[in-house]
Point group: C2
Chain length 309, copies 2
């Protein structure tokens, strides 16, 4: 899956993933009004609004970018109806040819991690039948529990041709509290990065292993070190735009041929219409504003990565 | 919530939580047959079997223990129908007076962690209405992202009188890969434990703060250190029984008055009928076997903690 992602990024010259992280406050009033009229001001109503909003966004961006990254928390907050729309969004993105990165940050031990992996990337057996409950192509995974927590995901990746992005260095301000602490003179995130590279090497089949890494755009000097430490690892880079990461800092995350990293933007694209720069689109044209913001982001990233010019 | 949990543990003299982690393979054939007859060999059928199995278990143990801990991965593996039964199980346990610890191990940053916290411990607003999408009393949280990831959960705990258990030292064999690495001469789990104590102190109202810790039964010497480091922290102790943790090792996790720690057992109780010791109950009396196993576990723990004798 990581090599398929790399190929599609190259084809589109767009190492960009759009975060489908719908806050109710981002959704245009017109969409909410309609959804609430049909389902009331309920979890079902909120989920319907999210679905219509997502559909509009996906229709406008599916030909520009290789992948989307729905953040499951934004769906889970609306309970079962929200999670149903998470699944519906995944299916719709697949219809449109997009690769889907489930930003689920799950991680547990043994059979429990196995259950998460089956739910999201693999299949579950019920009697004589098998089902893919959520069916993402790639998911994010938390490494705090060590190999026991990650290995079941890797096994499922191997069986089903899927991928994972393991949290290595996250983009948030307090990520350093634990991740930057020095162990034998080197920060924890480097030790995690080395594990990611080693886990991946065991199952690699192609330039990139199925085991990718999350490295925030907000820490470019660490991105540079981690790129070197993990030569066959696809890097998912959150934190561009709204969180402060700039394109000119991102070159070190990429390989010399312009592959190896994919940059996420969520609200910078999906809620672009709320920015002054795109305000002229108006709320009702939120999806067209998102398309323009995605195009601008692609141009911005291309400008910063010599091999993409 | 942690002080309510402590009070109920004391009342029952049972610092025990039953893990409701239903694997399909644990569920008696008779229950599965009925569920599949009604819903087919589908996700709905599997979820129905889980629900009937859980109901039987809860009916037999609700008067013995203060709390249950459903592991959401075991429900998530059956997709939307599975998650609906997760919610149904929470509601049923509440009807029976049990405190519900959602073993969700979520953790993200900022508004995303906030969305998880609202989904599981708080409320979400839709128009003029508010909903508690899952409604657990306490949830487990992953600390890898630092304060940004945990703080939104603590804010929700404060608003809604709920609690969290932060992963400090997990019970699995590879937990040491990162958690035991030395930082300035002390293992990472101690630094995380100190943070847990500090986060909790800011919001403490009573003997125990709303911010608890997960410390595996399989590492008793670490449990002893962490108990001292976190004097107002309720400790959730997984790993007893099936994973190898023994009652005699657990005394150091408790305060001198016999409070401060709650020990989890999952398959050792819910699938007791599959053990030689309880085989005479037979598959159809799986719930009675679970009751006996819970009673035996309570006796075992009481025997190891002087203040509970």
């Amino acid at each position: 899956m990581m090599n398929r992602l790399a190929a599609r990024m190259k084809e589109l010259k767009a190492p960009v993933v759009v975060g489908l992280d719908p806050m109710l406050s981002y959704i245009p009033e017109g969409i909410k009004r309609k959804a609430f009229a049909a389902y009331g001001e309920t979890l079902e109503g909120a989920a319907e609004a999210v679905w219509q909003y997502n559909k509009g966004l996906v229709d406008q961006i599916y030909d520009l970018v290789p992948a989307v990254k729905p953040q499951i928390a934004m769906y889970e907050q609306f309970g079962i109806p929200g999670l149903s729309v998470y699944k519906k969004t995944i299916d719709y993105c697949h219809e449109k040819g997009l690769i889907v990165v489930g930003d689920i940050k799950r991680g547990d031990i043994g059979s429990t991690s196995g259950a998460y992996a089956q739910a999201h990337l693999g299949e579950v057996k019920v009697g004589e039948n098998t089902f893919a409950p959520f069916g993402e192509d790639i998911s994010t995974v938390n490494p705090y529990l060590g190999t026991d927590g990650v290995k079941p995901f890797i096994d499922v990746c191997r069986s089903f041709g899927k991928g994972i992005f393991v949290l290595v260095k996250t983009s948030n301000p307090s990520s350093g509290e634990f991740q930057d602490r020095l162990i034998d003179g080197r920060p924890l995130y480097e030790w995690v990065g080395e594990k990611v590279a080693a886990w991946g090497e065991e199952v690699r089949d192609g330039k990139y292993s199925p085991v990718g890494a999350v490295v925030g755009a907000t820490y470019p000097e660490m991105g540079e070190v981690l790129r070197r430490l993990m030569p066959h690892t696809m890097i998912l880079v959150p934190g561009y735009g709204a969180q402060g990461g700039k394109a000119e800092d991102l070159a070190p995350y990429f390989d010399a041929d312009g592959s190896g990293a994919i940059v996420n933007s969520s609200r910078g694209i999906i809620a672009a219409y709320r920015q002054e720069k795109y305000a002229s689109f108006g709320e009702e044209n939120y999806a067209e504003a998102a398309r323009q913001a995605a195009l601008d982001m692609i141009t911005d990233i291309r400008g910063a990565v010599p091999a993409l010019q």
